[in-house]
Point group: C2
Chain length 356, copies 2
């Protein structure tokens, strides 16, 4: 069931309550405190690609300090990911960190969890409970291991419910919940089960999803059906690849679930021996630029005369090979016929016109 | 509905009739006739990755000759993709080409189509009717343009049905059918509609699906639900990327549809600031080797102590960072603790043992 509750992430993004599903990614290396402007620049690029929320692992106190400083330098809401040491969460809450992800199971004594909760309450910062199928409490792990798929799903949901109850007892309900498994059927089952029982916003994802190709297939197969059912309020596509790839995949997943946002829809040919135009090189060179445009437009990068003109007809802007030349279309009309080495300049000019 | 008819591709692969769904890709550049052994080697690699059928565009007579020669050099069934000129199809049929893909709509006069059909009949070679949403006959294109999604789907299916009827009139039923669109809802609708009406094997794919990320998301979102419903007998994941990427994506899609084949299931961490081990570099280096193994095994490439050991427990072989060291697991038991620069050698040794 869609979630009615909503959680505010620093007055910038609202998760749940029927607000647009937000896209997250996670920083992949330690932050370089001596060069935070580099991070600021990269975050600006991620924002242009469609990233709404950015998470950072905080393995030690100096990571907390650096992240805290960075949070004051960028408009994007930053999230601290905390394991084991509750003091890291407390320190992060001294800075404009927009959300804390905790796994209360590995924080230890309940007074430590209470200290986090009290400070988050005071600061108005939401917490995300992040349960991973691979690290359940022992009794539930045993239940999950010996049971079938259904028992496994129930055990994972139960792990999340224990955490939710613990927070509720402390009077804290400013929560987002995630339950992640590394396979598609479990991901579908646990999110459907939880959303049928609770009204907390759900953060969807597949954990340890794998390298680029496997990871995108698994995330798509799991997230598209859930999102199409109205389940899921924010997503993170985990990939053993770049943050930019995760954000792009997230956008395409929202789009395939029928809840896409404004932006470029890029269609392109797989290339074959007929191709007079190298669609691979052209799309690789242009993808970031195109995905960073805010305009709703279909852009077609085609290889040859067999498929090119047909699809080009529907595109707001299209480029295709035609014999030795390259042709640029707008809404089916040929506007330029050029040599391949003029393609980039001509395409840029036509792209600019698209924005007039 | 699942297809009961089956079509034999050169006594090597059976498409339809409940046989395993086969994976195809398409050669992306003109064949170099002066160095066919290079192609033979690449095709062997594709076969190891899980490719069952390989298609080549045949834009002219010399391409037909070269492809014909290559077909005699490799065990993989090769398919000729013919547009416009029926003589190219006739020439291909002089060689051990396993299937011809035609778009009868652009072949022209019916006597030309009949010549192809007669020769294919005589040689026992199946034909694939390939209809693309972007190149429908004029009357149907008009219908598709002015209607909504349903009318559009009906127009595309009608285009395929016209071709099927034309072949049936010529007494030819050794057919595979594909209908491709560049978006997910149309791809779902046309294949569901066709399979509810006809019992010909279906070749599934999304046309002009886009660059790697967008293309994988769109193909997964369209193909997984169809395959899970039993619709589709062979697939080709079109990407503006390499053939190897298309085959890997195909395998993952079959796996997510619950009809995966033997082979390695690779799970891996997205990496974060906690990671003591570079999962991106390791998976990038090992992916082809791992995906070429015939063994059913789950292999986990993890970054750190938070997620690593949990997932490592389920993996037949796992590698993860642990502080400054790297740890190799087998079924949850640590078998090696090494330095990062020893990781490749140690992993190879453990991989070999997995096959004993």
């Amino acid at each position: 069931m869609p979630c009615h509750r909503s959680v505010k992430i620093a007055d910038k993004v609202i998760v749940g309550g029927g607000f647009p599903v937000s896209i997250q990614t996670m920083w992949k290396e330690p932050l370089d405190s001596s060069n935070l402007m580099e991070a600021v620049k990269r975050i600006d690029g991620l924002s242009k690609l469609g990233c709404d929320i950015l998470r950072f692992a905080v393995p030690d106190i100096s990571a907390a300090e650096t992240l805290g400083v960075l949070a004051g330098l960028v408009p994007m809401p930053l999230v601290a990911d905390i394991h084991f040491d509750w003091r890291l969460a407390l320190r992060c809450l001294d800075f404009p960190i927009s959300k804390i992800r905790v796994n209360p199971g590995n924080i230890g004594a309940s007074w430590k969890v209470k200290e986090i909760v009290d400070k988050a309450q005071e600061k108005g910062v939401p917490l995300r409970i992040g349960v991973n199928a691979g690290s359940l409490p022992k009794d539930l792990a045993l239940e999950a291991e010996k049971g079938g798929d259904e028992e496994r799903a129930r055990a994972i949901v139960e792990a999340a419910e224990r955490e939710v109850r613990a927070f509720e007892k402390l009077g804290f309900e400013n929560l987002i919940v995630s339950m992640k498994a590394s396979d598609v059927p479990t991901t579908l089952a646990i999110n459907r089960l939880f959303s049928s029982r609770h009204d907390y916003p759900l953060h969807l994802g597949v954990t340890e999803a794998g390298p680029l190709i496997a990871g995108i297939v698994r995330n798509t197969a799991a997230l598209v059906p859930l999102l199409a059912e109205g389940i899921g309020d924010t997503i993170r596509v985990s990939l053993s690849d770049s943050m930019e790839a995760e954000v792009q995949a997230g956008r395409e997943i929202l789009s395939c679930a029928g809840i896409g946002r404004a932006g470029v829809n890029l269609v392109s040919c797989p290339r074959c021996a007929r191709a007079g135009f190298d669609t691979h090189a052209f799309t690789a060179k242009w993808a970031s630029r195109l995905y960073s445009l805010k305009k709703n437009a279909t852009i077609a990068v085609m290889g040859c005369v067999v498929n090119g003109p047909g699809e080009g007809r529907h595109a707001d802007l299209g480029i295709t090979g035609a014999g030795e030349k390259v042709v640029i279309f707008r809404k089916g009309k040929i506007v330029r016929t050029i040599w391949p080495d003029e393609a980039d300049t001509a395409f840029e000019e036509e792209l600019e016109k698209l924005h007039e």
